[in-house]
Amino acid sequence: MELLATAGPALMEALALILQPQQIGFLVCGVLLGLVIGVFPGLGGIAGLSLVLPFMFGMDPVAGLALMIGLIAVVPTSDTFSSVLLGIPGSAASQATVLDGFPLAKRGEAGRALAAAFVSSLFGGLFGALVLTTMIFFARPLILAFNIPAMLAVTLLGLSMVAILAGRIPLKGIVAAGLGLLAGTIGLGGPGGSPRMSTYDTPYLLEGFSLVIVGLGIFAIPEIVSLLRQDRAISKSGTLGRGWLDGLRDWTRNIWLSVKCSGIGVMVGMIPGLGGTVVDWIAYGYTVQSAKDKSQFGKGDIRGVIGPESSNNAKEGGGLVPTLVFGIPGSASMAVFIGGLALLGYEAGPHMVRNNLDVTYTIVWSLALANVVGAGLCIFLANPIARLTTIRFTLLAPFLFMMIAFAAFQARQSLGDLVALMVIGLIGIFLRRFDFSRAAFLIGFVLSSQAEAYASQFYQIASSRMRQGGFEGVLDYVGTPLVFGILVLTVASVWIGLKQGKHVYGNDSTPVGAKRAPVIFMLAITLYVAVSVWNATTIGFAGDKVFPLTVGTVTLVGCSLLLLRMRRAAEDDAIFADNEQGGEDGAAPHGLWATLGWFAGLLALSALFGFIIALAIFLLAFFRVRAQVSWERTLLLSASAITLICVLAGSLGRDFPPGLLQQFVDLPWPLT
């Protein structure tokens, strides 16, 4: 390969290009911006990239690349802060980190969890950069080997993670995943555009729910509400126990896990069309399956942090492979990155790798350097920021409500976003209360549209082959070693999951009590699923009908079996798990509905007066009445919160939700 002979010198040239004070300056700028964007929950790399895109034209290409790559590379590093400290997924790539990271923070080991996460991120990021260096020459056949059946198989592999995350009763996990899949089908169908569980009169539902809102609703709202009810700091002891040195040690002990999960991250990131949103789940599933002692997962096992965090940074290096080799974005942020490249005068694709190898390699170096700078800064900041977990949560909660409402509003910029957040948050609260796996729900939701798309495309191609070449034609198409290998992995994953999943979250028993509440919730779910199935039968276009119908029917069977078991079981059966019957939630000084009422109040006020005015009223009332702090502190905290949100929205060029008032009166920004 003559290309290889040029690769070494080009790599060195690229290093010389990037090691200029100006380029390093832009890289650090990108890193800082990425860190800030990542820290705020719900704002991913796309928001950050859109911010710098207007400045790209006319910039020095290397500086522009350094700025963009610096930004993309560190978002999955700093998004760990909110995942671990607050239990809020910082971005789609660190949803799985919440599962063990947040319990660690509650134990007062936030510093340790963060340090382990950042070292893992650093390692994953460097691993990704290394793979990218060589893979841009060899990846072509590998990526082309992933045909539609193979991608469908990988999607199934992702869904098989439900088995290990299902919790004590596997059937509940299946129902939760089924609900997630069904939630993902709401709106205009992917293949044919028929409305599902929505009509043209409900325009909001037509577009379906965005991942940001579902992620925040399912994970963040239940945790915030639960903590708020208990009125204490996140760290139970109120102090920071083990620090970041322990985290480093944890990582060195699990270095192989980090290597393997980085490999998973690169691989999944490299396949265009799979997207980065599953990568952390697959890595988490693998981490749990491969661990000997599974008893601590979900309660604060450091390996549950190391696995996903290694993979989600490695994925960016992997995602750049198809972006550069084919000019096809591996994820949405890569799509924006391609746009930025065009402004710099380069067209991502084989042409660029062949003719501008030195510039291409500055991407690799930027990626590596950004990971080092980003992770270094994060480790440095870990302990001070981890102190957030020792603050009385009631003072933190209004800021969080404000942030997630703002993040949710970015989805569609309609008041409907806030309503959706509230409704899904409520579902999340109940799933948590009755011990349904929220992770399973989210995996179902994330994979829903691609499971449907690949299944439908596979079916279309297979039936066309059937008509032409008969059964053999189909077999030729499907029976590749790759597809077979992934399917074997999938079966193994389900098998291990079913055999051992019980032990993962099974040790501490959720309190059980009265039958009534769990049964009512179960009936409500069953009703929704039944309506979905009925709705699916009314769809005319087969392509939009089959998937919700199949998933709905399976879920309905699961629901019926659960209801049947509920009828027979005694009151103390695990199936009647209800967190309100004891434990932390049961003993909380504040009620669920009163606490949720605060958030509903913010929503209602927003609908009337617009977000900023509503926020001001909400903050003043909350700090004064609920948190009972002095008027001075109330005013100070409220003012700083509003300043923060205005600066953030102003710099991102975003608006706030308007209310009824704004229809009658023209107000200046930010009151619009």
Binding site: S50, E207, F326, H351, Y477
Partner: protein, 365 residues
């Protein structure tokens, strides 16, 4: 001391304001200084229209009077129908709101999609820019063509990846049908790039790409003997005739191929429908609008800024890869292209709606 200097500042500011106001009335020119222009597109951050808008925004900022900040805002949903419905209700007349659309916004409008609540004729068009498209085959299949006569392909079973039945892919789909090819559509691609990957993986055996994607991704395949272009959709000349695409002067147009192929007519209802869809989707692929309430003065200001941008050499050095070498039409040319792209004969519309229903089961009522 502080008071004194403050007073001086206020005085200076008032003076400045007065001069600006005077200058404003004297030349009656629009000045957007200190304002923020929102460039709204009805798509998400990851699409081609987003690339186009983000590409144009900094240039607009530089060439509009007063150098306003131009920010791109995204209002995705329902394949751009939601955003266009939103724009229909806007009445911002001070030039701080512009709206960019693509062929995907025109098609639902032309076909009478029930979700469409917008009316193109209410808006003020500023810019219409086009693109082209090239269809290609694997070499062994392409060899079955007899010169321009495509009837040799009729015995083949073709598969190709399609984004949605009612989108831009309608144009090639109708072309396959007119040539009598047996092409099965695999619906649900997220972009044309996915369709191209299917072709590269051997899962699809016919495909087309728009011009810039063809040049940068398909041309290398053609050079290495993995694909052969069979026809381009062509371009419109000043009289509205379909001629060879200036970007691909060596590739015959669909019209030429159709003429040379038995049972493919370049007149009549089907052909009219194809031309209408082609015109809406390709020569008028991207459009830029001001709300209907904007004054002619504002339209002129924007037109002037756009013309200045297109007159820049360094713009084209970068833009040719991004936008292709297609005309960027402003002023009267934009008006003409706009009319071609947003009008459809009722018979042609009815034909397409029926054809969609029969071939795809897609009902537009």
């Amino acid at each position: 001391m502080i008071l004194k200097s403050m007073r001086r500042w206020v005085g200076a500011a008032a003076c400045l304001a007065a001069t600006t106001a005077l200058a404003g009335t004297a030349s009656a020119e629009v000045n957007l200084s200190g304002k923020t222009v929102e460039f709204v597109i009805p798509f998400s951050e990851s699409g081609g229209t987003a690339r186009w808008a983000n590409f144009m925004a900094p240039f607009l900022s530089e060439h509009l009077p007063g150098n306003p900040t131009v920010v791109v805002r995204y209002r995705p949903g329902a394949g751009s129908v939601s955003g266009a419905n939103w724009f229909q209700e806007q009445d911002t007349a001070d030039g701080t709101l512009i709206f960019g659309t693509s062929g995907s916004t025109q098609f639902p409008y032309l076909l009478g999609d029930p979700r469409v609540r917008y009316e193109y004729n209410d808006w003020k068009v500023l810019l219409v820019s086009g693109t082209g498209g090239v269809a290609y085959l694997p070499p062994e299949t392409a060899a079955m063509m007899n010169g321009l006569d495509a009837s040799g392909l009729r015995g083949q079973n073709f598969i190709w990846g399609v984004q949605s039945a009612t989108g831009l892919d309608l144009v090639p789909n109708l072309a396959w049908q007119m040539l009598g090819l047996n092409v099965e559509s695999v619906l649900g691609m997220e972009g044309r790039g996915d369709g191209r990957l299917m072709f590269e993986r051997g899962e699809a055996n016919i495909d087309y790409q728009t011009s810039s994607a063809y040049i940068k991704s398909v041309q290398p395949m053609v050079d290495s003997g993995m694909a052969v272009p069979i026809m381009a959709w062509g371009a419109l000349d000043d009289d509205g005739n379909i001629v060879r695409d200036p970007t691909f002067p060596d590739i015959p147009t669909f019209k030429e191929v159709c003429d040379a192929t038995p049972d493919c007519a370049t007149e009549g209802l089907t052909w009219d429908a194809w031309v209408t869809l082609f015109t809406a989707g390709f020569p008028a692929n991207k459009m830029l609008f001001l709300p209907g309430t904007a004054s002619q003065e504002m339209v002129d200001t924007y037109t002037k800024a756009l013309q200045e941008i297109f007159a820049r050499d360094d713009f084209w050095a970068v833009a040719s890869g991004e936008l292709g070498v297609y005309p960027q039409m402003t002023g009267a040319a934009a008006q003409a292209a706009f009319r071609l792209g947003t009008q459809v004969k009722p018979e042609a519309r009815e034909f397409v709606v029926n054809w969609l229903k029969e071939s795809y089961g897609v009902v537009l009522e």
